[in-house]
Symmetry: C2
Subunit: 133 residues, 2 copies
């Protein structure tokens, strides 16, 4: 599955910005910030274009956004393995790497009567294996 296929499958125009973003994120093993993605891209794009590309890709569930701390936002590709699962993000306090974590299905939160959940966001902060050494 490459960037062009993904865009075609979603009936999205194949612009170089979108292609580049998806390409980079397919090859990333961690969540990337806007700046990191921009630096990894060949072309130069306006911030607004970037912002709108992310928004479009997010709306089509091609990527997802992770807000680590306010004003610290990262993006990651939506992988099939993550579909229909509660999705956990891990942020290392030392290297600040953000990764999507596969978990065994684990969550059994009881909400008060009448409360209907539609979306669950779980962010775990701590120390990753590399930084623990």
């Amino acid at each position: 599955m490459n960037a062009i296929d993904i865009l075609n499958n979603h009936y999205l125009k194949r612009t170089s910005c979108r292609e580049g973003i998806i390409e980079i994120m397919l090859n990333a093993n961690k969540a990337l910030s806007e700046t990191e993605i921009r630096d990894a891209l060949t072309g130069n794009y306006d911030r607004t274009t970037f912002y709108r590309s992310f928004k479009t890709l997010e709306e089509h569930k091609i990527i997802h956004k992770i807000v680590v701390d306010n004003l610290v936002v990262k993006y990651a590709i939506d992988k099939p393995a993550h579909q229909n699962k509660e999705h956990v993000h891990f942020c290392c306090n030392v290297c600040h790497t953000v990764q999507c974590v596969d978990t065994v299905n684990v969550l059994d939160i009881k909400l008060p009567d009448g409360y209907t959940p539609t979306e669950i966001e779980i962010l775990i902060k701590g120390t990753c294996a590399d930084c623990k050494k």
Copy 2:
């Protein structure tokens, strides 16, 4: 427990801004935004003062911050019932009210080897009881 006692217990100076913030949040049954708190206060304070007050109160675990969406930040008082528990926040998609939810201990996430969690944030979005009617 009133605002003055809380500040004294933490050896913090009793400034009117801090007192006011705590007073308002003690009487709130939901998380409040910076604007909501400012509007509820009698005095006028500079945004920086506000920001630093929140930061100080947060560092002393008197209040905590909830980032709902980026640039949508709310604050809630730390209640004894929430101490030492995984703390779940619920945000209603309709009325946008944010509340702290008491949960039975529920989380059993298995992280990869070498990963040490220090903090867990759980945000559930959905429809609250009032908006479901």
